[in-house]
């Protein structure tokens, strides 16, 4: 339980002189809903980028399950190591149907020649059907993904991430642009999926974080400022100063 699924050690991401992530140590525990908060430009998205291989670390190590070093792997290799990412803007395949999106996303051999002869197995059919049920897209499974409502697109992408059966799910602002009802549904979904895996979420909405977080990490200028429960975070004076305090002020001003 306490064994970390993901461990970053002294990771640096250097954008030609500017260190978006600076000597960051970061640990993700299994079966936890782990939120990352922090002011704009703190490096939260970059943290997800460097874990999923979108951006390469300039320095440091990223270890999966205590053993596998992933910082030198390509994006697709990292996926096969058990890390899946949902991007901020829904990036689904608009021209494919909902079920087609899940078909290509699901865990399977994804090499060229296994794909030429790929056929549906009964197990795959069952898994896809269960997933459609879970995210509530069963009714629209044959519609093109482009025709879905915004919230449905978000869930479709979450479903695509889950179909890869990852050990770690990375979500970047999953509830942005959702209605209150959709937010609740997404929150429940996150709680549910965290039973079998770790979920690392970047989010701005403090009410949402408070409601669903097991652990909250506060980032500031590419470093970890504080880590703990939401309550501890809210009561920490330095956090209040650099982040929450500023946010309160902004609210007062506007």
């Amino acid at each position: 339980m306490s064994q970390a699924v993901l461990k970053l050690k002294k990771v640096i991401v250097d954008f030609s002189g500017f260190k978006a992530i600076n000597q960051l140590d970061f640990t993700v525990k299994p079966n936890s809903v782990h939120f990352v908060i922090g002011p704009n430009g703190a490096g939260k998205t970059t943290l997800l980028d460097v874990v999923c291989g979108k951006t390469k670390a300039t320095n440091g190590e990223i270890k999966l399950q205590g053993t596998t070093e992933i910082s030198k792997l390509s994006e697709d290799q990292i996926v096969h190591q058990g890390i899946s990412r949902k991007f901020q803007a829904p990036s689904i395949f608009q021209n494919l149907s909902v079920i087609d999106n899940l078909e290509i996303a699901m865990k399977q051999k994804k090499k060229l020649f296994s794909m030429i002869t790929a056929k549906w197995t009964n197990e795959q059919k069952k898994k896809v059907s269960e997933m459609l049920e879970l995210v509530g897209l069963k009714e629209v499974q044959d519609q093109s993904a482009g025709s879905l409502a915004h919230g449905q697109k978000q869930w479709l992408e979450i479903a695509m991430v889950l179909m890869q059966e990852p050990d770690i799910v990375l979500l970047d602002e999953p509830i942005a642009g959702m209605s209150k009802k959709e937010r609740n549904k997404t929150g429940e979904l996150i709680t549910k999926i965290a039973k079998d895996r770790a979920v690392l979420i970047v989010e701005h909405d403090m009410d949402f974080v408070k409601e669903y977080a097991d652990i909250v990490s506060v980032m500031h200028e590419g470093q970890l400022l504080f880590e703990g429960s939401m309550e501890e975070v809210q009561n920490d004076p330095t956090v209040r100063e650099v982040y929450l305090g500023r946010k309160v002020e902004e609210h007062v001003v506007s």
């Binding site: 697709d76 899946s84 056929k119 695509m160």
Partner: protein
């Protein structure tokens, strides 16, 4: 819902089979001259299917498929030329002062070797270029520019090596193929039938490929290459494969072309033909397989018609056509059919609702 999908696939299949049978029966009702023209168009249609796999499905625009077509055509032409000289030196080599057959011509004495090389050579070149560019994530317009550069290099090479390729006049004056006179009507009819069968096979296999999970992955790469990486795919492998496959298909088409047209020269494989090939696909409707076949036949039929009466304005017309298609028919001719079909379906739905109402 399920039923109408089955009906749609079934009726598509029936239409495709009818077209295929009609093409097979064409020798019964077309003159030798028209049949020969149709055979040429169908060779182009084969190439268009491969180009559609690459552009329509995978989103990689190659403006250099004339080269792969040309390599296939030249391989076949070299064999035909050697057959015509009875193993002796081709005339243009003698004129440029050579006394024995150059090394690279020797394999082409054997028809089987020539046929294999006509497919393999374009495939190998495409594989090498594709592997290097796609693996280094060179894509979009940069790849398209590279594909044009390839045309320039190869055409310059072919024109420059007069003593090896016949230079700008190319290769022509053939006699026999496997001992059969290439100029007899019977042999030409046989070439036509072979072309139709190859077209059917290429179409059938391509359809099988894109209708399955593989086709969805290609569309995924076309619409969101980066996203596919984060689903665990390596798009460069898929793109290299499809590029190689489409080059092999183009080579095949080139061989069938030269058998029926009897000449191949650098102007037939250069930049303008390469662009025309893309136009066939665009006009017919990319991402549909049948569209490019229709496009290839229609554009070339129009070209033949035009060139007979006004040879000069064809290029202008072609340019105009391209603009019109891009602006008004982004989905090509098959896009029109789809629209029409959708409209009809909607009418069906509303009329069936009315029927239900009247019964309830």
């Amino acid at each position: 819902m399920q039923n109408t999908i089955y009906q749609k696939i079934w009726s598509q299949r029936v239409i495709l089979n009818l077209i295929f049978l009609l093409l097979l029966a064409a020798p019964l009702f077309l003159s030798d001259f028209r049949l020969n023209l149709l055979g040429k168009f169908l060779a182009f249609a084969i190439l268009a299917i491969g180009l559609d796999l690459l552009w329509g499905y995978t989103g990689v625009l190659s403006l250099g498929h004339g080269i792969f077509f040309g390599l296939g055509a030249y391989c076949m032409a070299m064999y035909l030329k050697l057959e015509a000289t009875g193993g002796g030196l081709p005339d243009f080599m003698a004129w440029s002062g050579m006394s024995e057959l150059p090394l690279i011509w020797i394999p082409f004495q054997y028809p089987i070797v020539a046929i294999i090389l006509g497919i393999l050579l374009p495939a190998i070149i495409a594989f090498m270029l594709g592997y290097l560019t796609f693996r280094n994530r060179i894509s979009g317009v940069y790849f398209t520019i590279l594909s044009q550069a390839l045309v320039l290099v190869v055409v310059t090479l072919f024109v420059g090596s007069q003593n090896l390729t016949g230079g700008s006049s190319g290769l022509t004056n053939f006699n026999t193929f496997f001992g059969f006179s290439v100029n007899s009507a019977t042999t030409q009819t046989a070439f036509y039938i072979i072309t139709v069968i190859v077209l059917g096979l290429v179409f059938f296999l391509s359809r099988k490929l894109v209708k399955g999970r593989f086709g969805k992955i290609l569309v995924g790469i076309r619409d969101g290459e980066n996203r596919m990486r984060f689903l665990g795919y390596s798009p460069s492998a898929y793109k290299t494969f499809i590029y190689t496959l489409s080059a092999a298909i183009a080579g095949l088409a080139g061989m069938l072309f030269v058998l029926q047209v009897g000449i191949i020269s650098p102007t037939m494989i250069g930049i303008i033909p390469s662009i025309e090939m893309v136009l066939w696909v665009a006009l017919g409707g990319r991402g549909t397989l049948i569209g490019p076949v229709i496009g290839a036949v229609l554009v070339n039929a129009a070209k033949t018609g035009f060139s007979e009466s006004y040879p000069d304005i064809w290029t202008y017309f072609l340019g105009l056509l391209f603009v019109l298609v891009v602006v008004f028919l982004p989905k090509g001719i098959t896009g029109l059919f789809e629209k029409w079909n959708d409209r009809r379906k909607k009418q069906d739905v509303s009329s069936s609702v009315e029927v239900e109402k009247s019964y309830s």
